[in-house]
């Protein structure tokens, strides 16, 4: 059995339609495990309707805690901390756990050994069944850090499932932005579907995410969502893609049907006529890409 291929859906800019495209593709792809790597603001579960949900806690990096009985309030920790995580409250030095980065400097520097590092639960991960296959997702506690590590955990669980189920693909809905969680999503991926929209903001973010994807040497293709909202900008994206040798996988028009289906918590791909044709095109182009790749690798 070959190693499952990881297909990730990213966008840079938020709200361009990643989850719409990822969930609709999950209906088309037969041989796959589905994962939601947007652990900060996980939404795919709303459409996937998971059951048989199992999972576990996700432990974050240990953070510092000051034992107020041993603390002599010398202030050395506060002077050294580069994350502004130590405050004086009613005369007592205290760690702000949301700001603590877990670097351990304060605990090493404390002359009274009054600072201990303690693990905190920062989220949960789940694996489940859905009508469309196995589905892994997670939830980071609001305000927590380390979402990159939780993304890695989600991907790892999805990979284990993909291997035990002997499926060909892992289809991953990714987070917005270009930071740590996106980097964790991209690392080890085989294909990035970048969902963009023809706005100036969308184009600006598209260019940044393409650079990141190139940096990780991941093949990318573009989906232009709501292409008819601004045909002129759509043209600009097509020219940009052409100049940079990136495939345009498909173009999706603005559609009230998509918004209505999501409001009803159903996957829009099966219901909305205007989505069907571009989705089939996207699906076929990706399948062809991997079939060709498999041939040449052999």
């Amino acid at each position: 059995m070959d190693k499952p291929r990881e297909i990730v859906v990213l966008s840079g800019k938020g709200g361009t339609g990643k989850t719409t495209i990822a969930s609709s593709l999950a209906v088309l792809f037969r041989d796959k495990v589905i994962a939601d790597a947007d652990v900060d603001a996980a939404n795919m579960y709303i459409l996937m309707d998971p059951y048989n949900i199992k999972g576990g806690d996700f432990e974050g990096k240990p953070v510092a805690r000051i034992d107020s009985k041993s603390c002599i309030n010398c202030g050395i920790c506060m002077d050294l901390c580069r994350f502004d995580a130590i405050d004086v409250i009613n005369g007592q030095h205290k760690i702000d756990q949301l700001s603590c980065d877990g670097c351990t400097l304060c605990s090493l520097a404390c002359p009274e050994k009054a600072i201990q590092m303690e693990p905190v639960m920062v989220g949960k991960w789940f694996s489940s069944d859905t009508e469309y296959g196995k589905f892994v997702y997670a939830r980071l506690d609001p305000g927590a850090e380390n979402s990159g590590n939780l993304v890695t955990m989600v991907k790892h669980q999805a990979k284990l499932l993909a291997e035990s189920e002997e499926v060909k693909y892992i289809l991953i809905d990714g987070p917005p932005g270009i930071g740590c969680p996106v980097i964790s999503t991209l690392s080890g991926a085989d294909y990035t579907i970048i969902v963009t929209e023809p706005s100036i903001s969308g184009i600006s973010d598209l260019k940044r995410i393409i650079k990141l994807s190139d940096h990780f040497r991941v093949k990318s293709g573009i989906v232009i969502n709501k292409h008819d909202v601004n045909p002129e900008n759509t043209r600009k994206i097509e020219i940009f893609a052409n100049e940079n040798n990136i495939d345009i996988l498909g173009k999706v028009p603005h559609s009230f049907c998509i918004i209505d289906e999501i409001s009803k918590r159903t996957i829009p791909g099966g219901q909305c006529r205007e989505l069907k044709e571009p989705l089939t095109e996207i699906y076929e182009k990706i399948i062809n890409y991997f079939e060709l790749k498999n041939e040449t690798e052999k």
Binding site: E145, P176, S199, S204
Partner: protein, 294 residues
């Protein structure tokens, strides 16, 4: 100025620090916050969505300064280093690797959090020093209503948090009104961007996705004890589930922007909300007054 006295600007109105957040991306944070800033006088606009800063598209500032934002990272002098491994053992991020047999010290800058623990534990004089490394750019400039300050994270850098906290520390003027465009999501960077805010505006869209993510940011805002109100964007008049949640949570709906293709077209061209919907500038001014009067 006396500590604790009400801060007022030149016009004599109260100065507030208002952060605009959303949880879910693409709900209209930037679109709303830029127009809010543009409808006020004497205001500082901060773009802290450092991974994807887009506020400039609507504000159209004249940029006068570009400052590289640096963090301290270790540099090891292999001639002085005794390869004792204390730095690598202490590093919580596995950013250092010491190979005594090969007399090599390896540093992985993309893993470094610039905490300084390595230089603290190094027992040898000048074997490990800290040097500056750029992680992003701070762009400063002016627009018709005040100052523009933007953070832009370098591509490939894992975390925007230091850049966000650096901007807040060095550029937030306590005497001036500030509108802060925050990053999406519900984790660290968002917390960092709203820590110093007097009021947090949550921009949501009335979909199950918008609601699910808004619930998470509401928790953060409550944990931090911030006053908050919600803007419903892309309102099609059927926002019942969202409204019900807000009523139960006792969070006011402070503004609505209708769903309109015309607005979307205008947005896509980089035209701000106040230049698209007539009369909205006055409404935003009043909203600010209402917020600052508590």
């Amino acid at each position: 100025m006396l500590l604790g006295s009400t801060k007022k600007n030149r016009q004599g109105t109260k100065t507030m620090k208002i952060a605009v957040i959303s949880g879910k991306g693409g709900t209209g944070k930037t679109y709303f916050s830029t127009s809010l800033a543009m409808s006020l006088e004497d205001v500082d606009f901060f773009d802290l969505d450092v991974e994807e800063p887009n506020g400039y598209i609507f504000i159209k500032p004249v940029i006068s300064d570009e400052i590289q934002y640096n963090l301290l990272v270790p540099e090891i002098d292999e001639d002085r280093c005794t390869f004792c491994k204390k730095c690598a053992d202490a590093c919580a991020y596995n950013a250092l690797s010491i190979l005594p047999q090969l007399k090599k010290a390896l540093f992985f800058p993309e893993l470094c959090h610039s905490c300084g623990v390595c230089s603290f534990v190094c027992p040898v004089d000048k074997a490990l020093i800290e040097v500056e490394k750029g992680i992003g750019i701070i762009r400063k400039g002016k627009f018709s209503k005040g100052n523009f300050i933007e953070g832009k994270l370098n591509i490939g850098e894992p975390s925007g948090v230091p850049l966000i906290s650096g901007i807040m520390k060095d550029h937030l003027d306590p005497e001036r009104t500030a509108i802060i465009d925050s990053p999406p999501g519900t984790s660290c960077p968002v917390v960092e961007s709203i820590k110093k805010a007097d009021y947090v505006i949550i921009v949501t869209e009335p979909t199950p996705f918008g609601l699910s993510d808004m619930k998470l940011v509401v928790e953060i805002v409550k944990d931090l004890g911030k006053k908050t109100g919600v803007v419903i964007n892309k309102d099609r008049g059927d926002s019942k589930i969202t409204e019900e949640f807000l009523r139960k949570s006792e969070i006011p709906i402070i503004f609505r922007i209708p769903y309109s293709l015309e607005i979307q077209r205008s947005y896509s061209k980089g035209i701000p909300l106040i230049s698209t919907v007539p009369g909205i500038e006055q409404k935003l001014k009043r909203l600010y007054e209402d917020i600052s009067n508590g």
